[in-house]
């Protein structure tokens, strides 16, 4: 029987926008998110170009709306396991991972994390800080429920060997006046479960991964603590991040900062031929916030071409240069160490000068790669992937959100690198295509 529900896979800005648009049109939506909270990468940024507004401020309301919308069923910490059927009537099995926490009881008070003895690298801060084995990923998480990480929890690891260890989150530490979970929400017996749903259409919005800077060994990422990625700088700059917004590297404020563009973009030597589209602008933004937080610092951006194509972007690029950021045309070939400083070796092709810049912070503008889930998801959905590794749209101009399979649409960076504005546009387009299809194959619900 034709179904009037849409499935959205991925709860980043693309998935959230698509889900909200479809839900607001009066159709039911199931939103599946892999991690414990929706929000995606946008919520990891500290500021967004070219307006420099705070992504938490513009993103959190969307998250809350998704979490409370009567037409949206949010299934977080879950992954699609199988898909059968055709447009108008897909059967989808979703594997919901156990959080070992009863969502109906958890009040997100955080007492469990306080007593948990296990420190784990915090994914949200890219390992620059630690979280506990029982955790809420961040204050604005939706759903706001604690999750136990089975890879690190002492009790869950002990159970495999038949031992009853720890359980401090349940028991608390009374002598220190730390109660642990008073709501009795923690339940180590909760199992993964399979949820089967019927949907009429599917929107894929699984986002992207970042290029692994270790694949460019000439830059010394992973060797020198002073060489970091752009995403790491976002976390360092954010007031709620590991350094509370202070630009600090090796315990010091850097005095000479070099940004290197196109790390893992436009680079056949690592099999990435395409331009990642966002790095020029995110680097410009970062150069500006570093320069405004550290006015005395010398800030240099090394680039091949500056691609400031969006609305207001060229003006923003000019503003960054006005602020004193030096743009030098020419790729950095190598970073090495001399004494305490990093030496960045490049040629300024506009002056023909080959120079060695002594820097104490080097930021790599790593490009966008297809999400690691792409291949498996392409198999499950039977939709094609392009030569660049991203999902392939049905026509590069006239079918930018459709796929080769009727009723399956693409939104956001899973189709190719794009900025937030373009992602939201594509999500809206995918939602609109989904609604048109649902209006034909199913019927709208009463609430609109």
């Amino acid at each position: 029987m034709p179904c009037d529900t849409a499935l959205v896979i991925g709860g980043g800005i693309a998935g959230m926008q698509a889900a909200l648009d479809i839900a607001n049109a009066g159709f039911k939506v199931v939103l599946v998110e892999k991690s414990p909270s929706i929000g995606g990468r946008m919520l990891q940024f500290s500021e967004v170009f070219p307006t420099l507004d705070c992504p938490q401020c513009i993103g959190t309301p969307k998250m809350l709306e998704v979490g409370s919308h009567p037409n949206i069923q949010l299934i977080a910490y879950s992954e699609v396991e199988s898909v059968t059927g055709t447009c108008g009537n897909f059967t989808v099995k979703i594997r919901q991972k156990s959080r070992f926490v009863d969502p109906s009881r958890c009040s997100a008070c955080g007492e469990c994390s306080k007593v948990c003895p296990v420190q784990v690298p915090d994914e949200r801060n890219l390992g620059l800080s630690r979280r506990k084995a029982i955790y809420i990923p961040f204050a604005q998480a939706v759903p706001n429920i604690a999750t136990i990480d089975p890879d690190y929890c002492l009790h869950l690891k002990g159970l495999k060997e038949g031992k009853d260890l720890c359980r401090l989150c349940q028991k608390g530490i009374p002598q220190k006046n730390l109660p642990g979970c008073e709501a009795k929400a923690i339940d180590f017996n909760i199992q993964n479960k399979i949820i089967e749903i019927n949907v009429g259409v599917i929107i894929v919005a699984v986002g992207y991964d970042l290029f692994d800077a270790r694949l460019k060994p000439e830059y010394g990422y992973g060797v020198y603590p002073g060489v970091i990625t752009g995403m790491e700088l976002e976390r360092i700059d954010e007031s709620g991040g590991p350094t509370l917004g202070k630009i600090v590297v090796n315990g010091k404020s850097p005095r000479n900062v070099v940004f290197i563009q196109c790390v893992g973009s436009r680079d056949k030597s690592v099999g990435v031929e395409y331009c990642s589209r966002v790095c020029c602008m995110y680097t410009a933004k970062q150069a500006l916030y570093v320069k405004s937080k550290l006015p005395e610092a010398k800030v240099t951006v090394c680039y091949i071409d500056v691609r400031a194509f969006g609305k207001g972007y060229e003006q923003f690029y000019e503003r960054v240069q006005e602020a004193g950021v030096i743009y030098r045309r020419g790729m950095v070939s190598e970073v090495y160490k001399e004494g305490d400083s990093l030496v960045v070796r490049a040629e300024d092709t506009l002056s023909g000068e080959i120079y060695e810049e002594r820097a104490d912070l080097v930021v790599l503008a790593t490009g966008l790669r297809p999400s690691g889930d792409t291949v498996e998801l392409a198999r499950l959905l039977n939709i094609p992937v392009g030569a660049d590794g991203f999902f392939l749209e049905s026509h590069p101009k006239l079918g930018p959100v459709e796929t080769a399979v009727d009723g399956i649409y693409l939104a956001g960076c899973c189709q190719g690198p794009k900025d937030i504005a373009d992602t939201v546009i594509q999500a809206g387009a995918a939602a609109s295509m989904a609604c048109i299809k649902l209006a034909v194959t199913g019927k709208g619900t009463e609430s609109a």
């Binding site: 060994p217 196109c262 680079d267 030597s269 020419g330 790729m331 070939s333 092709t349 080959i354 060695e356």
Partner: protein, 376 residues
């Protein structure tokens, strides 16, 4: 020349170069030589004829370390353009005198050092090495390289390899006086025709010697056999790979400690170009007592010694600090006793640099084979 220009544009895909300058920035000689490989790519593309683009003495400064090519984001081969421009210079006879001597030496005597062919195997007098060109048989060919054959310092490395192979019970043979230059440097000095002749003659000689595998002393021979010779079925190994497997198989055991602080200099032709990074390090680390310290610039970021690309036979147009001297100074600062390496050219250049920087007595340069022999 117009046709040649069009050929060069096609052969090296010059229209695809987006002038990012990753090549020049990574070129080890770009800070001291006027050679600008990025600009050269552009000049060849734009010049109406080639005059003026390649009649430049700095063309001979390139060490063919290949850093430009290995890092080119467009997958182009700037260093091959340099070699091609050199071949145009060779055609016009515009070539440094010392390079002419080296090439003539190879043509006449099979080696670039101007030494007699009849003395090629003199280094092994008394070692009773099987000669595969005189009826002896063995599964492994020990390819010695011209420098190891004639240079008294480098001869020690060849002898060390003989000791190591015999200790491990490896059956091998040589080509005696019939061994000829591999042609690697010949090709890089622009003598393409001579290189083709050498590669064909050498392959024939290998085939007639009845071997399956070849082990080389020099990474330059290793690279050219493996990557530049016409298709063949010989297994090609650099000795560091072979010695590493002999140690892993338990066929080579150490009985003495070497209580030294040792660093390792990656030869470009072994490391960067062929990704043989781990085997030489494994060999050094297998020696008891060794404290191993890495150069900051190591592996893919290793600094060239300036010995490749015919530069052993050509004085560079550029003055300024030799890169091997930077290496020697860095090593002194690191407080090591020994710079180990695994290439005859690197060995000679680094030894020279230790002397010219006045660091004789503070540290020594040794081939990893010599370290192995010391610890047997």
């Amino acid at each position: 020349m117009v046709d040649t220009r069009t050929e060069l544009i096609d052969r090296y895909d010059l229209t695809k170069c987006f002038q990012c300058a990753k090549c020049t920035a990574g070129c080890p000689v770009s800070l001291k030589s006027v050679l600008n490989i990025r600009r050269l790519m552009r000049e060849v593309l734009l010049s109406p004829d080639l005059q003026g683009t390649f009649h430049k003495s700095e063309i001979w400064d390139c060490t063919t370390c290949q850093t430009c090519t290995l890092r080119c984001p467009r997958g182009l081969k700037p260093h091959e353009l340099v070699i091609n421009l050199r071949s145009l210079l060779v055609e016009e006879g515009e070539i440094p005198k010392t390079a002419i001597d080296a090439l003539e030496g190879v043509y006449k005597h099979g080696n670039p050092w101007g030494r007699a062919r009849s003395k090629r195997s003199e280094w092994s007098t008394g070692l009773n090495i099987k000669n595969l060109t005189e009826g002896d048989t063995a599964p492994l060919l020990f390819f010695n390289c011209c420098t190891t054959a004639y240079d008294p310092r480098v001869q020690e490395i060849g002898k060390a390899l003989v000791t190591v192979l015999r200790t491990a019970g490896v059956d091998f043979g040589c080509l005696g006086n019939k061994e000829s230059c591999c042609g690697s440097e010949v090709r890089r000095m622009g003598e393409t025709g001579l290189f083709e002749m050498l590669s064909e003659d050498n392959l024939k000689l290998f085939q007639n010697s009845g071997v399956n595998e070849i082990v080389t002393v020099s990474p330059h021979c290793y690279n050219t056999f493996k990557n530049e010779y016409p298709e063949h079925s010989f297994g090609i190994k650099h000795y560091s790979q072979l010695v590493n497997s002999l140690i892993n198989e338990g066929r080579l055991k150490f009985s003495r400690e070497l209580n030294r602080k040792i660093t390792y200099h990656d030869p470009c032709y072994l490391g960067k170009q062929n990704k043989v990074f781990d085997e030489p390090r494994n060999v050094i680390n297998a020696i008891p007592g060794v404290t191993f310290i890495e150069f900051d610039r190591s592996r893919e970021r290793s600094l060239c010694c300036e010995g490749g690309g015919g530069r052993m036979f050509i004085e560079a147009s550029a003055s300024g600090q030799r890169l091997a001297e930077i290496r020697a100074r860095d090593a002194v600062e690191m407080g090591v006793d020994i710079i180990a390496t695994s290439c005859p050219f690197c060995l000679l250049n680094l030894e020279d640099a230790v002397k010219t920087t006045g660091n004789e007595g503070k540290l020594v340069v040794r081939d990893i084979l010599e370290l192995v022999v010391d610890a047997l």
